[in-house]
Amino acid sequence: MTNSVWVYVDQFKGAALPASWETLGAAKKLAGELGTGVTAIVLGHNVEGIAKETFYYGADAVTLCDDATLADFRVRPYAAVLAKLADDAKPQVVLGPATTRARDVFGFVAVDFESGTISDATALALKDGAAYVTRPVYAGKLIGTAVCKDRRPQLITLRPRAFPKPEPDASRSGEINNVPAVLKEDEIATKVVDYAIEEGKVSLTDAKIIVSGGRGVGGPEGFAPVRALAETLGGALGASRAAVDAGWIPYSHQVGQTGKTVSPDLYVACGISGAIQHQAGMRTAKLIVAINKDKEAPIFKLARYGVVGDLFQIVPALTAEFKKRLGK
């Protein structure tokens, strides 16, 4: 059976991203409505474990390209395999998580097929056999519906944490279809010479909880209580542009228009006024808590709960309270 819905399973160093499983869940639903199955595409090196795992999360078939040239992600060799497979089997839809890697791969493949690519879906609906994609535009100020018209495949990335992650079922399994790589190493101009991984940190885009600090933290040392609360809650540490521009914390923590877009269950804004540029990155959080000295700060218009007060008193008190409750 040829499945017309595919999922590009994004992985890093042999571990699939949670957003890949969310994508598989969304693909399963779409395939059910189309009366077809889901084929997972797993690309990498020493990633057979991921291929097996895709069945747990609902894949009906898996195509695996396990090759040394795919050990480190590079867009050309990855896109070449996906394009070859899609050219052979003509899927209707290819879904992937909206990561840097999948966006690049889909941008490449869209050109190869002269088809449409849509980024950052927050909802999907099937109409007349096409996937109608809901996604924020204009920095989250508007919501648009986009659709790949008549061209195929439809190449769509889904925003991490916008779709539920399916419960894995370890009893599921299936046949893995192994395919060779398309490019040889000497055909790939780009070489990876180093990858400095930020160890032990919760990724902002995958985080269920984010605690962020802004101008109100006052300096680099002011992030200590904010970081302590994030760690206690098992969350990631975020920051506003003001704090990043002041040099108090690295750019990789920035949430907002020129930083990361996040959708956690809980977003705690500490000393962040909530400029429109910051809102662009966090307004899709399910629940927002704001702690700020200024009762008139715009962040309170987004927040479900607010505390008007000194973050250096409130945040440590919250950390202590949660340590007690969580038995830490």
Binding site: F12, G144, Y195, Y251, Y305, V307
Partner: protein, 285 residues
Amino acid sequence: MLNAVATGQAAFSFSFIEEAHLNIVVCIKQTPDTAAKVEVKDGHVTWGDSPLVVNPWDEFAVEEAIRLKEKHGGKVIAISLGPETAREALKQAVAMGSDEAYLVSDPVLKGSDVLATSRALAKAIGKIDGVDLVLFGKQAIDGDTGQTAIATARRLGWSPLTYVAKIAEIDPAARTIKVERLLEEGRQTVTSKLPAVISVVKEINEPRYPSFMGIRKASKLAIPIWSAADIGVEAGQVGLAGSGVAWPEIMPLPAREAVCEFVEGASPAEVAAKLADKLAAEKVV
């Protein structure tokens, strides 16, 4: 007079190190200001009287292009695809230090998506001789698609290097480049070959303000318009007809239901306990 001196210097450096200079194209988009109140009226997106600006991500690309030129010699050519108003964005790029600017503008280009935009940009870049590098901002703050750079790289067949936070080395003579890319899990260092198409993230630099001389230059510089015919694309290949994606609907954001409940107490500990109760009840912790 000042202008003449500046031009003379540029010409000198250009011819002196012809072997190893860099020809850099920077692609910029004009977008509504980040603080603009964007609304939908009669099915069209409007931003009232808010000013149009250079897409904030693209300012980093312009700055990086100018820094590379200052280091290696060569020239910076700014390109924008858009309506006549986008000329202002190009003027800013020139005022910052770009040498030339071209506006790719034609009614048939209206409504171009990633596929059509990358086609037009690749064709426009193809009109310029000896390009070593093309720079983009990571994404535009209106569409937020973030795939125009990669699609343009694919069309040109040049090395694709996205999410670049640092250009560590570039050797125009050896045709090599080494960059650091900022990805989800950390920082990837890669080497590749020129010509390359790069998209940059904010960390790469701090964009300069236009200089007085730059503003003067921008006000005098002729910015040619390249039509679809000039760059060699046909109506059906670009604009809505040449796009893979259509936007049947665009709506204002549903109003957030949250009305902020302020948590108060006699002490920080009491506030913390009350807030913790509420978060536990909401099942978010």
